[in-house]
């Protein structure tokens, strides 16, 4: 489903990834670990083709980094959910609107939007806060909104870049439970994390990156 073949990548002349090869299977839950600056985020960005390799290639479903056209990138991204440490919510829109936004910009009809947003809000237990603005929510709640936005398009994979990095231990576990639940429903999850606690608690495969190189 996702394959990296001998990927070498530099950003602004700085070598970030060096000969990265790995594969993630359909419905798998994989942790991406490694110190800060090791290249974890860059690996995630390759998957939604925000960065393309200098050498080697990344294959995501039917899209190949060596052949993908600019206009195909949005189509790929509609099949991928992305969650960040800093949530990246729009502060001038309600919880409902933040999630609906992902559907609106891809041309989904209003009636479908309402139905789908309410469904994912129920999945993250935030239906009752749909009219609130992000600033009134706790960090954990904001991350749940971000997860709801990531899954509203029914992606085949959720990429989570340190999703618990800004949260306390208890809230982190709540977020992990949600990601686990999403994974059990058949969506693959690739999660970058530092947290030893999470790694010990959830026995999934690790991909470890250090200095831009891989050690599984």
């Amino acid at each position: 489903m996702i394959e990296f073949y001998n990927v070498h990548t530099s950003i602004r002349d700085k070598k970030i990834l060096n000969n990265i090869t790995f594969r993630i299977l359909k419905g798998e839950f994989v942790f991406l670990t490694g110190p800060s600056g090791a290249g974890k985020s860059t690996i995630l960005r390759h998957i939604y083709m925000d960065v393309l390799p200098d050498n080697g290639m990344v294959v995501v479903e039917n899209y190949n980094s060596a052949k993908i056209k600019d206009k195909e990138v949005p189509l790929l991204r509609r099949k991928i959910g992305v969650v960040f440490q800093d949530f990246k919510l729009l502060q001038d829109r309600t919880v409902f609107e933040n999630i609906a936004f992902a559907l609106r910009v891809t041309g989904v009809s209003s009636r479908d939007i309402k139905r789908r947003v309410m469904r994912v809000l129920a999945e993250v237990n935030l239906g009752h806060k749909r009219s609130q603005y992000p600033v009134t929510l706790s960090g954990g709640e904001q991350q749940r909104v971000a997860i709801a936005r990531a899954i509203v398009n029914n992606p085949f994979i959720v990429l989570a870049d340190e999703p618990t990095g800004n949260l306390d231990a208890e809230t982190s576990m709540e977020i992990m439970d949600i990601l686990e639940r999403i994974n059990r429903q058949g969506t693959a999850v690739l999660m970058a994390t530092h947290s030893q606690e999470i790694l010990q608690h959830f026995p999934h495969r690790h991909i470890h990156v250090e200095g831009g190189e891989l050690s599984q």
């Binding site: 939604y48 600019d70 949005p74 990246k88 729009l90 910009v105 041309g107």
Partner: protein, 285 residues
């Protein structure tokens, strides 16, 4: 669905960069007000010049001894020329009457006989009232038999043509400069809006919005700035014209339809400058 989304987001851009949007609209207003005034001035100037040109007559003096019959035949021949609108034959007697009218004395009192030549006075159709066309026609007329000399206010027409060219060139340069300033202002405002809204752009890119979909609200915003600024300037220019008609010169004229280029200019400049700005700055997000 996406149409209303685009429109709504386009308007939201206004509130995101309120100060620069307001300043841009004010600047577009001033530049387009100048354009509208220029159009009004040139409309009236052109009318005045056309009126002057319509009074220009070309007088074809005939050789002594040309009979009235020959002169009339010549006149009919001239009427077939595409340049000629009207013609009038001036016989020796009419020439003498004209002399008396102009100089206050009869030609017979001064010279005891009438040496004044007969002539044909031609009025030309509008496209041929310019120096080059007059010169060409003169040559053609002088080649005809019985024609002695062709006279018209050559120097005035030549000068008029030359100065009109200078006036239009200067006007075009000023217009170009004003449009360039407008372009830079809208370009810059859209750049600021893009950076003010980079969070939303980033999320749009992340959730798979197509590039054109992301661009559209910014283009709409540029268009709106252009149209609002231009519309205000049209209203102000129309008001100024009425004031000028009341207090300065009542003969000033203008048709509201002729202000349409001002609106079009606002629309086009808004579209183009926003388009350029988005194409350049969206990549930097």
């Amino acid at each position: 669905m996406s149409f209303w989304f685009t429109i709504r987001e386009g308007f939201k851009g206004f509130s995101r960069a309120r100060l620069s949007t307001t300043l841009t609209i004010i600047s577009i207003f001033f530049s387009h007000y100048m354009i509208a005034l220029f159009l009004m001035a040139s409309y009236n100037f052109e009318h005045w010049v056309d009126d002057f040109r319509s009074r220009v007559e070309l007088e074809v003096f005939l050789e002594p001894g040309t009979t009235d019959n020959e002169a009339q035949q010549l006149r009919r021949q001239m009427m077939d020329y595409k340049e000629v609108e009207k013609s009038r034959y001036i016989s020796k007697d009419e020439a003498a009457a004209r002399f008396e009218k102009e100089f206050g004395r009869s030609v017979f009192d001064v010279l005891q006989s009438n040496p004044l030549p007969t002539s044909i006075v031609l009025n030309l159709k509008p496209p041929y009232r310019r120096a080059a066309a007059l010169e060409k026609l003169t040559k053609k007329l002088e080649a005809l038999s019985f024609v002695d000399e062709v006279v018209y206010p050559r120097r005035v027409i030549t000068l008029l043509d030359r100065y009109m060219k200078v006036v239009y060139l200067a006007g075009a340069l000023v217009l170009l400069l004003l449009l360039l300033i407008t372009f830079v202002l809208i370009y810059n405002t859209i750049r600021l809006t893009i950076f003010a809204r980079r969070d939303i752009i980033e999320i749009m890119q992340l959730v798979g919005a197509k590039r054109n979909f992301i661009k559209r609200p910014f283009i709409i915003e540029g268009l709106l700035q252009g149209v609002i600024g231009a519309s205000l300037s049209m209203a102000a220019a129309w008001g100024s014209l009425h004031l000028a008609q009341t207090y300065i010169l009542s003969s000033l004229a203008f048709k509201p339809l002729y202000l349409l280029p001002v609106l079009l200019s606002g629309l086009v400049i808004g579209y183009i400058s926003a388009g350029f700005s988005v194409a350049k700055h969206l990549k930097e997000i």
